[in-house]
Subunit: 337 residues, 2 copies
DNA sequence: ACCTCCTTGGAGAGCGCTCTCCAAAGAGTC
DNA sequence: GACTCTTTGGAGAGCGCTCTCCAAGGAGGT
């Protein structure tokens, strides 16, 4: 094995030109005489030459890859069960492939793996980082910033930081949910929030509460969930015990909404006739749920693609200042509310 | 910008030793006097030195990354909607992280992107490839093999090839499903197969039919689906029209099973009392489905991890012959059958 | 005390590529 | 026809690292 493969040198020798000329033909830098180009291309064809990536990036200081860092709290690879990360990946890949950039997937869920990520970027193994982090306390943004690594976040950082990010107006999303529930005439509504150490969870809840309060509902019972169907199930159970008369529920993501619907149905309650349920995200489970979920749409793929775009752009022009792009949520009305 | 960062040379100068010595300390090759080691480590600390990845891999001819190639037929990033790929990713990442190897995610769904994958590997951008391919006609395995790229497949290749792979005994899975349906006393069973250009689909169906035939049911009506909930929905609809008396259904994955259950319920049929439904995979939707699906478990994460393990092993010993690891499916009984 | 063997540090040759200089040659200009 | 200006190919210096060789010094044997 030890594939050595033909080098620039080999091609140059066969074509009877210098290394520099071959390099120019390969990279399309500067003018090269068309005849010579032809000769060189033949030589390349003949040898089956492919430029060596390591050698190239040693001098260009570019790798053509970026790190896609997923910093879940949970035990590592469980995160992929959540459709959210699949959607992020899809959006990122979708954009990057148009630019010939490749994503390296990294999980950052422990001190150790976080250090690995920083190390990886400092080594120049990737040109920049896309950081999908939920928890407000995540330390990676500042560490990457300190290491001078071009970084773009999905979701604003826990503390103000001169870093680019894309985000959703989660509060507006919460308001949308509240408006729908009130529009349906619900009078006793509860909420199942996401983990409260996640900014998005806080924001969704804040927006929801605000809108309710503004309309004469100063108090909304809230149970904290964990963004999983099981946690939504449990939360709905508690809500039902404490407030049996509930007729409207806002769950901070679709998975939890699904869990809530299940409990409701198990208790012989009809959705949406007896209890209306609004989810959040508009991911696959929202459609699969019976009844299909009315939900607040988060355009995850588009946001992820934008995140990738912002990074690639800042890679091309490193002097650029950080930007932020905030997306607007949208209410998708289906059957559950 | 243009972070230059300290080099080996810098560290060597500060520590008052040669480059070679610093390299030895960093890589732990050969003995180095403990005192000297201490000095060198201090210098490293002081300068914040990190080895340059490109330079290193230029000489070692190793990158510490592998390509995780997902070759769906569908329009690219849609694949991530299918929980299957999320599970594969989880399994791969889970194993690789223990070995300090990083996966680069690539989609191969067009001629162009397939060529990109080959190019990427030939450039030495990654040390090997993990290829998750469903379609039997996929050309990548042979192209990668021809290029001398260490490769491991998820699912056996369409044509016999000297390449390592992991796979499931899909036929045994089909038999398991048939056995369950017959055990429940079903007399009129139908099947919703996966796309028939996918080997796994063929095998699941073959196993299922065989087991049915062996038990006195020579004919099983089959409708081909596309592994999506919508296609399962459509397929069940047709099955119901053509065979209204059906009392058992085998769907070749959980997504389609879910679609089938929905149709059944819409038609006022009870699952499993009127019609028993068996799915395949045991992915998240199987649990989320109402009723929860009885299904044939494919240990995707474990298989993906094994695939990664086989690749890493063959990277360490390139002279090794190809291996194959076949996993056994398992029936998971829930409520739908 | 001499010789051999083992340990350990340094020198330096690349790995394959890009890119800055230079030089040569051709095209204009007056 | 002598001059400058532009175009285009070649030479060669690195990019930062690993690793083979070599030499120096100390330990052990006789």
């Amino acid at each position: 094995m030890t594939k050595v493969g033909p080098t620039l040198e080999d091609v140059a020798r066969i074509a009877g030109v210098s290394r520099a000329t071959v390099s120019r033909v390969v990279n399309g830098t500067r003018n090269v005489d068309p005849n010579l180009q032809e000769t060189v291309r033949n030589a390349i064809e003949q040898t089956g030459y492919t430029p060596n990536h390591a050698a190239r990036s040693l001098v260009t200081r570019r790798t053509g890859t970026v790190a896609l860092v997923i910093s879940g709290a949970g035990g590592g690879s469980d995160v992929f069960v959540d459709p959210f990360f699949g959607r992020v990946t899809a959006g990122v890949v979708d954009f990057l492939r148009t630019r010939g950039v490749h994503p390296v997937l990294m999980l950052a869920d422990t001190d150790r793996t976080r250090a690995d990520v920083v190390e990886f970027l400092r080594q120049g193994s990737a040109d920049g980082a896309l950081l999908v982090t939920t928890h407000a306390a995540e330390s990676l943004p500042e560490r990457l910033l300190a290491a001078g690594v071009p970084t773009v976040l999905y979701a604003r950082p826990g503390r103000p930081l001169p870093v680019s990010y894309v985000d959703l107006d989660h509060q507006a999303g919460g308001r949308l949910a509240a408006a729908r529930l009130m529009e349906l005439g619900c009078t006793t509504v509860g909420a199942i929030s996401g983990p409260l150490d996640v900014l998005a969870s806080q924001d969704r809840l804040t927006g929801f509460r605000e809108a309710m309060a503004r309309n004469g509902f100063p108090y909304v019972p809230v149970v904290e969930g964990g963004f999983t169907a099981a946690s939504g199930h449990a939360a709905m159970g508690r809500l039902l015990v404490e407030h049996p008369e509930v007729d409207g529920v806002f769950a901070a993501n679709d998975l939890m909404a699904q869990g809530a619907v299940d409990v409701l149905l198990e208790h012989g309650l009809r959705v949406p006739q007896d209890v209306a349920v609004v989810g959040f995200d508009d991911s696959a489970p929202a459609l699969a749920c019976r009844p299909p979920l009315t939900t607040v749409r988060q355009p995850v793929e588009a946001m992820a693609a934008k995140m990738a775009e912002v990074l690639v752009t800042s890679l091309e022009d490193p002097e650029q200042r950080p930007t932020s792009v905030i997306f607007e949520p949208e209410l998708v009305i289906r059957a559950s509310a």
